[in-house]
């Protein structure tokens, strides 16, 4: 099943990636090849097999722990600044982004 240019454009959009026309044609070739590889899975009879999301599910009962839905006490302004230090455009404790609504 070969991918079309439209398929690649849609995938790029869903992936949040910008591909120029060179990138697009290369991605198309590579994905065709990769899909050929993963197509091999279709030949396996998996009737009655439950999908396995956790790698130890074949060994033991898996119950993921959930945290209580409670607010943590506010930390210091210094801590906030440390977390914002990596932001490309921080401003007074906020993340700046391009205007979304005029």
């Amino acid at each position: 099943m070969a991918l079309t240019e439209q398929d690649i454009a849609r995938l790029a959009r869903l992936s949040g990636l910008r591909l120029d026309s060179n990138d697009q044609s290369r991605a198309r070739q590579e994905l065709d090849r990769i899909l050929g590889l993963i197509e091999e899975l279709q030949a396996v009879d998996t009737t009655g097999i439950e999908p396995m999301a956790h790698p130890l599910a074949a060994h033991q009962e898996i119950a993921l722990r959930l945290r209580d839905d409670t607010a943590e006490p506010a930390q210091s302004a210094a801590r906030r600044d440390a977390c914002l230090r990596n932001a490309p455009a921080p401003h007074e404790g906020l993340f700046l982004v391009p205007t979304v609504i005029e």
Partner: protein, 507 residues
Amino acid sequence: MSQLSEFHSIQALGEALRSRRVSAAELAADALRAARAHADPNIFLQIDDELTLAQARAADQALADGTAGALTGIPIAHKDLFVTEGWRTTAASRMLEGYVSPFDATVVRNLRQAGAVSLGKLSCDEFAMGSANENSAFGPVRNPWDAERIPGGSSGGSAAAVAAGLVLGATGTDTGGSVRQPAAYCGVSGIKPTYGTVSRYGIIAYASSLDQAGPLARSAQDLVPLLDAMSGFDPQDSTSLESCDGRPNTGGRIQADFEAARGAFQAAGQQPLKGLRIGVPREFFNEGLAPAVGAAVESALQVFESLGASRVEISLPLTRLSIPAYYVIAPAEASSNLSRYDGVRYGHRAAQYTDLADMTSRSRSEGFGDEVRRRILVGTYVLSHGYYDAYYLQAQRVRRMIADDFRRALADDCDVIMGPVTPDVARRIGDNRQDPIADWLGDIYTLGVSLAGLPAMSIPCGFGGDSGRLPIGLQIVGRYFDEGRLLALADRYQQATDWHQRTPELA
């Protein structure tokens, strides 16, 4: 030659430190000089003398106070996938160039609390995606045994640093073989523990249901204190295990299991491994296996037999299908995990853009390298409407069948599984550039173990390649939570052989 090169084990250096014949600060200063002077400047992504020396001075204080442990003052380094306060953390990506974490990964904190002294951050494949360390945005790492060849990946900097004698231990992560394969290619020992035993908190996420941290070192014996310090329940990781088959997941578990198994081997005399059944999967010895690798693994199996073990042929019929199953599941999880890089909260932001969506997509396309973009596209595809069931859920069903095959073999037929880590020795840098999928196929012997979440090691077992000087690894796979016994088995092999003592200079 650095002072560090006089010590061939963590134990020997630890004794010298505790008897105060060596100071941690002098050793660290010397190791930093050696790391800077090393022929391959790409192994370390960052070195910071002051941060390292502060840890070394704290180690000397603990040594003076008599509070030192097995790792106090031991020079190690961290794969750049572990976030660190102080040292920058980049995951070898332009996306995170200059990123400084506000906290330490749990593994980093655990090793620091155990007294280990970090020399800095080691190169890897970008976001741990790759098997050659060529996907680092900051340049390839060279194999210390042959500068024209890859060290393997994704923990390539970790394996190269240990092989080059720059550190006595290094952290790595293994999602589909990223500890075991570079350990094999660089002639060092490495272990990926059971999924859930080591915290993933502070490890930059690639594929969350597969990612697991493990150490690399010169020998199985050296891996014991490293893995023991790294392991333990962590409430900050939702998949961290509180217990391992009813026993608490805490430091000391692996050390105790290792010592118990080693004691039993010693007590058994001439045939220490009598009764041990080694399962050898016939699918691991297919036509794709290089003869030199097959011969080295065969010799290793004979050593185990001479120690009293017996060999049984087993079948893991879905071995080949672990490749497509993994390359659906891992990219699917990656495409989801890497959606956090949006150019807003951290990471690269494009200089020019028209609106928010344009800013995000430009930032991501500029920040991510080819392999990362490729895996995001594949992951998005297999998760998208109309393909989710056919690809993603089907891969998860095949994953269960693969895990069941391992479980059945280890329950009914054998106590441990052995085979090659890789089909061949390390290839040349640049060889697969035109065919990005070729490296994926080389992961065939490591992916099944990762999908099943089992513990597995790689230890050196010989040399091959045209020069006869490229290391070959033996893979040892155990039952869930069997890390201590696996390490003791590897240690028993290393008492009978000297492959692990070979170093590139002396080869």
